[in-house]
Amino acid sequence: MAAPDREPVIRVRDLVVGFGDRVVLDHLSLDVRRGEILGVVGASGGGKSVLLRTIIGLIPKRQGKIEVFGIDLDAATPDETRAIGRRCGILFQQGALFSSLTALQNVQYPMREFLEASEELMTDVALAKLEMVGLTREDAEKFPSELSGGMTKRVALARALALDPEIVFLDEPTSGLDPISAEDFDSLIRTLQQTLGLTVYMNTHDLHTLNSVCDRIAALADGKVVALGDMEAMHACEHPWVHEYFGGKRARAVAHEPEPAAT
């Protein structure tokens, strides 16, 4: 595991985002450090996806500053923005696979756009990535409509990793998966993070994921980060939502599970 106290790759300061007269993120600040897996929790509708989408530039902010790789997104030139895009991989909540391309073509797509590699190399690497996320050669030829929910997430993850990004953003990667697939997916993310040296920013609801995979947890409530740190920090937090979430019976059950063997 990378030393978790190196310089931040994402720095969010004083961020305000809203829709109409509803403020979703209210003067929020957050750092993501290089090489860590950061889990962001919060109530459903609490603004996790909005925060993620604002960081990657899909939602305009009202106020505040976002730096990715030390570059201020507001001051970035189009070339810099493109370069940042290349160094980030995103797994959307619904997968967002291109429905008219096969799984393999979905993974190849960003490669075609950004790299000057031969067809053969792109196919080989794309197949290797699909295999790394646990799919077979037959699956590679399937269209998104022929994939199950878990397979869709896997293909989406392979596509997010297509360009060997430095940061991957995962929006609820394990929601909608059965517990075994979810656990599988968790250890997959852990393995990939270690082998590829990724920084992972992950929105999640899943206590098990938070407990077993994340280096740090950020709890989002009332449009702010109300607690940041490891499980202990979450338990120590006084905020009612965090208290209820991590103090509940389910949370205690998960916390007392034996740590999964290091993968």
């Binding site: 429905s99 790299l115 590699a117 190399l121 290797a128 295999e131 050669r137 269209f143 409509s145 082998t195």
Partner: protein, 374 residues
């Protein structure tokens, strides 16, 4: 940092040393470095690949190194990978396990045979398409019986009427007005040579009421409402909404298709009537401004030139055309598969097909009316 690959041939072994950034950004250059080595004839000498100098490595670089490794492994004694930095080991191991199975061999297909096969497929499709359409009519007929017991369908029909009739009125009025005007202008221009300008009223009146009015409106409705029916049903099919309806014990034909098609059947005669009137107005307007025919005279001549028969011939066709447009639109919508591309394809097909059927239907009606003397 530039990637490098040096090969030095010693007498007893081949030494390759890699250096620099072996990453995706340099994929093109890396391939150029690796290609020549891969193409060399396999040597009997054992190979040693040294990657101690590699500064950055990602899946692309790891895969290329793995490719070198496999190439040497198949051609001679097991190669050795030396100087592997600790933090690259995981990635290299991971890549080692991938792409082990050979790709499925794809049979080379014969172009000519493929073309013949395609032709056959399309021909067969024309037949099955027609059957499909008939089946849609049948399903709607069955659903119609049940719909009488379900008054909610009226709400739905009114909702769709608002979309396909009321909201279509302005554009239909505008276009038919212009077309009426253009026909009148052409008529006046050419008839003038024979001193027969007055007959432009017959031309506009008969043409618009019998043919142009209904045909033009049907084509516009096919493009405007038929396409949106296809797209709606198609995307509902894609997102399993139609399956959801079925599992609730509701019949999609009754809930989705019937109200849409019935709304269209009501809408088209109304729009045809409005469109025809607007076209006559346009014709009269141009006759007045361009041909110098006073409106009173235009109306007087129109009364002599046309009879209720002409009007009936036009308007009777409208509901039938609506039925065909609706049936084609919904059956194409239900053919949509999972992808966005197929949604687009089916929408195009729906419009093209329904316009084709509308024109064929118009031809059949022309023969029919001629033989009954209308």
């Amino acid at each position: 940092m530039q990637p490098l690959l040096k090969s030095t041939a010693a007498t007893d072994r081949l030494e390759l040393s890699a250096a620099g950034s072996w990453t995706a950004v340099h994929a093109g250059e890396l391939e150029k470095l690796v290609e020549p080595v891969l193409r060399e004839p396999a040597a009997a000498r054992p190979a040693v690949i040294d990657i101690a100098e590699v500064r950055e490595l990602d899946t692309f670089g790891a895969w290329l190194i793995e490719r070198l490794f496999r190439r040497f492994a198949e051609g001679g004694p097991e190669p050795r990978l030396v100087g592997v930095p600790e933090h690259f080991r995981g990635l290299l191991d991971e890549v080692r396990h991938t792409n082990r199975r050979p790709p499925a061999a794809r049979g080379q297909e014969n172009r000519f045979l493929a073309a013949v096969e395609n032709l056959g497929r399309h021909t067969a499709e024309i037949g099955s398409d027609f059957l499909n359409l008939v089946a849609t009519f049948g399903e709607m007929g069955v659903a119609l019986g049940r719909a009488f017991l379900r008054p909610q369908i009226l709400t739905s029909i009114v909702h769709h009427l608002d979309r396909v009739a009321w909201q279509a009125v302005p554009i239909i009025l505008l276009i038919t007005f212009l077309i009426g005007g253009i026909i009148a202008q052409q008529g006046i221009f050419h008839f003038r040579k024979f001193g027969a300008e007055d007959y432009v009223v017959d031309l506009v009146g008969i043409l618009v009421l019998r043919e142009i009015g209904v045909l033009l409106v049907a084509i516009m409705v096919a493009g405007r409402s038929g396409s949106s029916y296809t797209a709606e049903l198609g995307s509902m099919k894609m997102r399993e909404e139609i399956d959801a309806l079925r599992t609730m014990g509701l019949d999609p034909v009754e809930v989705l298709i019937l109200p849409r098609v019935l709304a269209l059947v009501c809408a088209l005669p109304i729009l045809t009537f409005l469109g025809s009137m607007s076209a006559l107005l346009g014709g009269g307007f141009v006759a007045w401004l361009y041909g110098g025919m006073a409106p009173e005279i235009f109306i007087e001549r129109l009364r002599e030139a046309i009879s209720i028969d002409h009007f009936e011939v036009g308007i009777i066709k409208a509901p039938f055309m609506a039925l065909v447009i609706g049936a084609v639109a919904v059956s194409e919508g239900l053919k949509v598969k999972g992808s966005a591309e197929s949604l687009g394809l089916q929408t195009t097909t729906s419009v093209v097909k329904s316009i084709f059927y509308v024109i064929v239907l118009d031809g059949i009606f022309a023969v029919f009316f001629a033989s009954i003397g209308m």
